[in-house]
């Protein structure tokens, strides 16, 4: 019963005259840990914005669990199970940490159940992620790592089948990176497909089963971490000619 | 009733008006466009400038526009002081936009009322040798009353543009909203930079106030006619784009003038705002926005 398969076919996105994505295709299998890397400006964030629905596409198809989701709005994709976290955390600042989780529970998880149930469930999630002591503080009072955890916890509350984690570890210490990785591994064990966009190579290499490398809006390499490390095209893209 | 002569005259009148509109809107372009401070009281400062010019003109017979220029340092200081209050009360605490807006609304009232308590509510006009005269330029009659403000508006636009692109402080002001890192590398204190920019914005407002009183009579509540216009121009031009402000101001001026000449002047303002609505719907960042 594991879901979460994402198929992207010939995805194209232009901003004015600039082509940010040029016919990108990828196929993320159910339950897979998938890495997406590439130098700055290579189109990673544009790609996930298109997949999550924040941006419209100029060509190509996006299928989730066999269903074409290219044209449906972002919140409906979330309800189907495509959930993303943000590179720069965007918490709901006027709400407590707990209330932050109630929103996706109510809206995305489809329950729209009594509020009390949502709160209990939100507390469960906070516990698994280690934020329960902060349940009643506002996000403004959180440290950076706590903020990242909140971002992940909120994504979890949306009951994802596919979680897209956008640079969840940027700026963290190596111990904190391990913390986040542990959480992501645990989520994956529960059957959640995960796409990780990351600059910290150590983390991506350790986490991903398969990696795709984007450069200038086009995939230049795809394979296991080991294959990617040895790929000369990748090296060129990162280090220049 | 169409004639080429009329068209040429309408376009020229519109361009002149546009130059004046640009002068009034420059400050907003600076404070709103580059500093993200929604100074809705900007037109009130414009009227304050008008009254300053009026006071000097009626008591000492000084030329209103000259007075406007002489008084800019005073208004610069005033603007800097207002920004300090704004910064201490809002920006430092974050979440400034909505409450900052109300702050400036309050300021607008205070300025308006202080003016009417001091000068009463009579219409105030100034005298200058060029009011009521016009010159002929190749078949097109140009009112000097509008030509002078146009020239000053143009000069202000040019000066501000040069200041922003050529000087240290100017570049720092541009960096303050877009590129914090660059600002830090320049070794500039953002609050200080913003204070300077806001002071310049208010100084520009006061000078444009002197232009306004040269063109038309003012009362303390005249500012309300300009709230919509100045923000429309700043937005239409693309926030923070000084050249864009001038272009947008001229578009609005010409639109108003053409409407007034050929169709019903009644609709000129609505057409201007219609253009704005359309522009916002099609291109929310304005004509020259980033």
């Amino acid at each position: 019963m594991v879901g979460g398969r994402l198929e992207v076919e010939g995805l194209t996105k232009r901003f004015g005259g600039f082509t940010a994505l040029n016919g990108v295709s990828l196929d993320v299998k159910s339950g897979e840990r998938f890495g997406l890397i590439g130098p700055n400006g290579s189109g990673k964030t544009t790609l996930i914005n298109c997949v999550s629905g924040a941006l419209s596409t100029d060509g190509g198809r996006i299928r989730f669990e066999g269903r074409d989701i290219t044209a449906i709005p972002a919140h409906q994709r979330t309800r189907l199970g495509v959930v993303r976290s943000f590179q720069i955390p965007k918490p709901f600042i006027s709400m407590t940490v707990l209330e932050n989780l109630v929103i996706p529970l109510e809206y995305a998880a489809g329950a729209r159940a009594e509020r009390a149930d949502c709160a209990a469930e939100a507390m469960d999630i906070l516990r698994t992620i280690g934020l329960e002591s902060k349940a009643h503080t506002r996000p403004a009072g959180l440290t950076q790592i706590e903020m990242r955890k909140l971002e992940l916890a909120r994504a979890m509350a949306a009951k994802p089948k596919l979680l897209i984690s956008d640079e969840a570890m940027a700026g963290l210490s190596s111990g904190e990176v391990d913390d986040i990785l542990t959480i992501l591994f645990r989520l994956n064990e529960r059957g959640i497909t995960i796409i990780m966009i990351e600059h910290i190579m150590r983390a991506v290499m350790r986490f991903s089963e398969r990696i795709i490398v984007l450069d200038a809006g086009e995939p230049i390499a795809e394979g296991t971490p080991n294959e990617i490390v040895r790929n000369s095209a990748v090296e060129k893209a990162y280090l220049g000619e | 009733m169409f004639s080429w002569d009329l068209l040429a005259n309408a376009v020229v009148a519109g361009v002149l008006l546009g130059g004046f509109y640009a002068a009034v809107s420059l400050g907003v372009s600076l404070t709103f466009g580059l500093l993200d401070v929604v100074n809705i009281a900007h037109p009130a400062f414009v009227i304050l400038g008008s009254y300053a010019a009026y006071a000097m003109n009626s008591s000492f017979g000084l030329d209103p526009i000259l007075t406007g220029m002489l008084l800019t340092p005073l208004f610069y200081v005033l603007g800097a002081a207002v920004y300090q209050v704004y910064y201490a009360s809002f920006e430092r605490r974050g979440e400034e936009s909505l409450r900052g807006l109300v702050f400036f609304f309050g300021l607008l009232f205070i300025i308006e009322v202080s003016l009417s308590l001091t000068y009463g509510v009579d219409y105030r006009l100034v005298e200058a040798p060029y009011i009521g005269k016009s010159i002929e330029l190749g078949g097109v009659g140009v009112a000097v009353r509008l030509l002078v403000p146009f020239a000053v508006g143009l000069a202000m636009t040019l000066a501000l543009h040069l200041f922003l692109s050529r000087t240290f402080y100017g570049r720092a002001i541009k960096a303050v909203s877009q590129d914090r890192l660059a600002l830090r590398l320049m070794g500039a204190n953002p609050v200080r930079i913003k204070t300077i920019a806001f002071g310049i914005g208010i100084a520009a407002a006061s000078l444009s106030g002197a232009l306004l009183v040269t063109i038309a009579p003012v009362v303390p509540s005249t500012d309300r006619d300009y709230i919509g216009r100045v923000f429309a121009i700043a937005v239409l031009g693309g926030l923070g784009s000084i050249g864009g402000t001038l272009v947008a101001a001229i578009i609005l001026g010409v639109a108003e003038s053409l409407m007034a000449t050929f169709f019903g002047p009644s609709w000129s303002l609505a057409v201007s705002f219609g253009i704005l609505l359309l522009a916002l719907a099609v291109r929310p960042t304005g004509l020259f926005g980033r």
Binding site: - | A13, V121, D122, Y123, E127, A143, R145, P265, S268
Partner: protein, 424 residues
């Protein structure tokens, strides 16, 4: 958790009502032992019309002081109770109900301006009061309320009579003008004036070559003036408010718009501050007015009034000469006072009946009201600005600058014709 969470809409509304109740007791503590006769009004002391509202109020205060110096009305002192209507019609119902129910005034007079009289009339009608209107145009045409009297000398058919003088003058010119341009602001008064002028155009058989309106916030009037010039009319009739009056005059001059007759219904040119700033630019304009310091207009009492007014004007921060509205505001309360004295009554109907059938001698001359409460005979003056030199205020105090051309019985000089001849 949330202190307001337990609040219910009930308590909130209860709070609203409570405060509102508290309101009703405000201001009722002005009872006096001498039992004064109270006259109440709302007046535009702030907002768009305050430039006229404030002088009008000062004039009424002068009347009150005059009356009280003479021992009051019916041996009782007169008290004026006034509130600021902020030039906002929405405040009028509240203000007058307060005056009538809380302050218990004996009579009300209107504030300044058509817009502020309009919402007052239904209140007055409901309570069958007598109302002296202070400068409103055609307010009673829809209601035909018998106890309403308007001191503005518009005449029995206010809209049409308003510009009558201008057209009478135009009609008598030789050679007779053929074409006319009508232009006015998108606002209440200019629309009335233009509507009236349109009727007169038909009556006098002119040909309309331009008929447009503009928004009051227009900045540049040269395109309008130019469009009118392109239509090449013999006569230009302008109905405007102060800022656009100034704008139109300047623009006309700048684009060389030189019809044979220019003016008509421009509000604002009568103001001292505008006259001194515009100076010679006014020469030649033929415009409506209510009073001018010409020998034909020296009604008994008016000089004393201006002496007093001008002495107090600076302190009150109002128009220093006060030739436009103030004498009429004074006359309005003067008539009310005379009627009270003559009937020895404070009964609304008795006073109204007396006002309706009597001809009053006031500081603005003889006033007799017609059936709709307007002056039985129109006396809107048409004046021409002549021989203005420089910008000194003193020249406007003497005759010869604002020459009365119409009506015939008040005529004090001759038209300089055409417009350009007076400009030089």
């Amino acid at each position: 958790m949330r202190p307001w969470g337990r609040w219910s809409p009930l308590r909130a509304v209860a709070a609203v009502l409570g405060t509102a109740f508290a309101l009703s007791s405000v201001g009722s503590a002005t009872a006096q032992s001498a039992k004064p006769i109270k006259i109440g009004l709302g007046m535009a002391l702030t907002g768009g019309l305050s430039a006229n509202g404030k002088p009008a109020l000062l004039a009424m205060q002068i009347w009150r002081d005059d009356i009280n110096k003479r021992g009051g009305l019916l041996d009782r002192p007169v008290e004026l109770i006034y509130y600021d209507d902020q030039t906002n019609p929405a405040t009028v119902p509240g203000i007058y109900t307060k005056l009538l129910d809380v302050d218990q005034v004996n009579f009300v007079v209107s504030g300044y301006g058509t817009n502020l009289i309009a919402p007052l009339l239904p209140i007055v009608m409901e309570r069958k009061l007598t109302l002296m209107g202070v400068l409103g145009l055609a307010n009673n045409e829809k209601y035909k309320y018998p106890n309403y009297f308007q001191i503005q000398p518009s005449g029995p058919d206010p809209e049409a009579n308003w510009a009558m003088g201008f057209f009478e003058i135009a009609g008598k010119l030789n050679p007779r003008p053929q074409t006319i341009a009508l232009v006015g602001a998108d606002a209440e008064y200019p629309r009335h004036a233009i509507d009236g002028a349109r009727e007169l155009v038909k009556t006098f058989g002119f040909k309309t070559v331009y008929d447009k309106s503009y928004p009051p916030s227009t900045v540049d009037y040269t395109p309008i003036a130019r469009a009118i010039k392109a239509a090449n009319p013999d006569i230009v009739f302008v109905a405007s408010y102060p800022p656009d009056s100034v704008g139109m005059v300047r623009a006309a001059r700048e684009v060389g718009l030189q019809p044979k007759l220019f003016g008509g219904g421009m509000v604002g040119l009568q103001y001292t501050s505008v006259m001194t700033s515009m100076g010679p630019m006014l020469n030649g304009i033929v415009n409506y007015d209510f009073w001018a310091p010409e020998r034909t207009m020296m009604f008994p009492g008016i000089e004393e009034f201006f002496k007093e007014y001008q002495a107090r004007a600076e302190k009150a921060g109002v128009d220093p000469l006060g030739y436009y509205l103030p004498p009429y505001a004074y006359a309005a309360v003067q008539i009310l006072g005379r009627a009270i004295e003559a009937t020895k009554s404070l009964d609304q109907q008795t006073v109204a009946d007396y006002i309706r059938k009597t001809e009053f001698r006031t500081i603005v001359g003889k006033v007799k009201f017609g059936p709709n409460g307007e002056w039985a005979k129109s006396r809107v003056l048409m004046i021409q600005y002549q021989n203005i030199e420089g910008r000194l205020v003193e020249q406007f105090k003497g005759p010869g600058r604002k020459v009365v051309l119409y009506p015939e019985e008040f005529k004090s000089g001759n038209l300089i014709y055409p417009y350009s001849a007076a400009q030089r």
